[in-house]
């Protein structure tokens, strides 16, 4: 698959939130405004790309040569958790004011099933090192798109007159469902016709 194909597939066609249904909790349940959402999405995207690359290295140089393929899940979970911790530490040292502004523990929010899901999908796809990195970045971009659009919808809905029993989480989930249907428009065949040979 070409790099354009990977980018379009993992950011739009096979969106990690709206197609794979991963990382829903931060999308519909996380408190905070657009700034906190953007920080969370950016941190998750960064974690996804670094983790995808690390998982590729782990699988290629450790698990497969030693015949420890069955230990893939624990190895990947541990790798992602360690990378999340290291990124959190680096962010605290490098951009402490940004973390204060975000108001959320970035490592804790970024370490969710979407991150591990992308790592597992990348490992299953048999990509090269660079392709794995692009898969992680594209999935992170897809996560960013879904999270920011859902937060914008949530902020609009919170000031609208809606039935009381649907206010809050139920309506956020229904909005996510309608957005997921809208994302069905990003069909693989349709996009391949636009971008010939992707």
């Amino acid at each position: 698959m070409s790099f354009l194909g990977i980018i379009l597939t993992f950011s739009l066609v096979d969106n990690v939130v709206l197609t794979r249904l991963l990382g829903i909790c931060p999308c519909v349940g996380a408190p905070g405004g657009m700034r906190a959402t953007a920080s969370t999405a950016a941190a998750t995207g960064l974690l996804m790309s670094v983790s995808a690359l690390a998982a590729w290295a782990l699988e290629t140089y450790v698990l497969l040569p030693l015949g420890l393929d069955f230990l893939k899940t624990p190895a990947f979970v541990l790798a992602v958790a360690c990378i999340a911790g290291l990124l959190d530490l680096a962010a605290r040292r490098a951009v402490p004011q940004l973390l204060r502004a975000a108001g959320v523990p970035v490592a804790a929010v970024a370490f969710n099933c979407a991150t591990l899901g992308v790592v597992l999908i990348a490992a299953k796809g048999g990509f090269t090192a660079l392709q794995s990195l692009v898969v992680g970045l594209s999935a992170g971009a897809g996560f960013f798109i879904a999270l920011t659009v859902l937060t914008a919808i949530r902020e609009k809905l919170d000031v609208e007159q809606v039935p009381e029993w649907l206010r809050g989480l139920p309506l956020h989930l229904i909005s996510a469902g309608l957005l997921a249907y809208a994302f069905l428009a990003f069909d693989r065949a349709f996009l391949s016709r636009i971008f010939q040979g992707w």
Binding site: I24, A108, A180
Partner: protein
Amino acid sequence: MLVGLCPAAAVTGRVIDALWMSLGMAFVLILTSLSRVILHLLLDAPGSAGSGSRESGLLGSRWLGVLFLAACFTASFEVIMGAFAPQESAALGIYVPLLAVNCIVLERLADGSPRRAIQENGARIFRALGAAASRGAAFAVALVLISVVRETLGSGTITLFPLGAFGGTIVVSGISAAPARALLFAGGGFLCLGYLAGLVRLAGRLRNRRPRAAGEAGAQ
């Protein structure tokens, strides 16, 4: 509170997938809770190497250790499921390994230190087991409820475990001829979850209103 939503929306297209997922969640939750308490008992015992050490927070070394155990239990369940139900294992795909980082499991891991509770109550292990089992059961009920609604309306069938002469599939006459297939898509999972969450809230409000109305009538 709705946590651990991802499998609730993703694997509820068939009832049998929801049942397998619930089984996996119960397996991982119970064994992880048990190992977490045992680990705390060993490390926090008076005179042990870990005694008096500071409780590690999220992404701390002790938390990572229990997370690794959760991932090992998940991998064990993957192997067991692959041996006994290879088709269902393939159908669930990446969602079984993702049990290790499900919010319900992570919430149990990030729960406060049971050190004081161990000192106060020696039956902590049984309490942890009970809490894990009840959470697993609640997760199973929610997952099966969503999957019954989605599969019945989305394909007009209910798929269960095959048993003897029973093939495992119940056809719902009337719906199976013209099902609402859109419910089986990803968006259908969100829609179903959203409406069910709203209905649960509505039922809770109606239940709260009834005793209040009865109390007011009694006062008059």
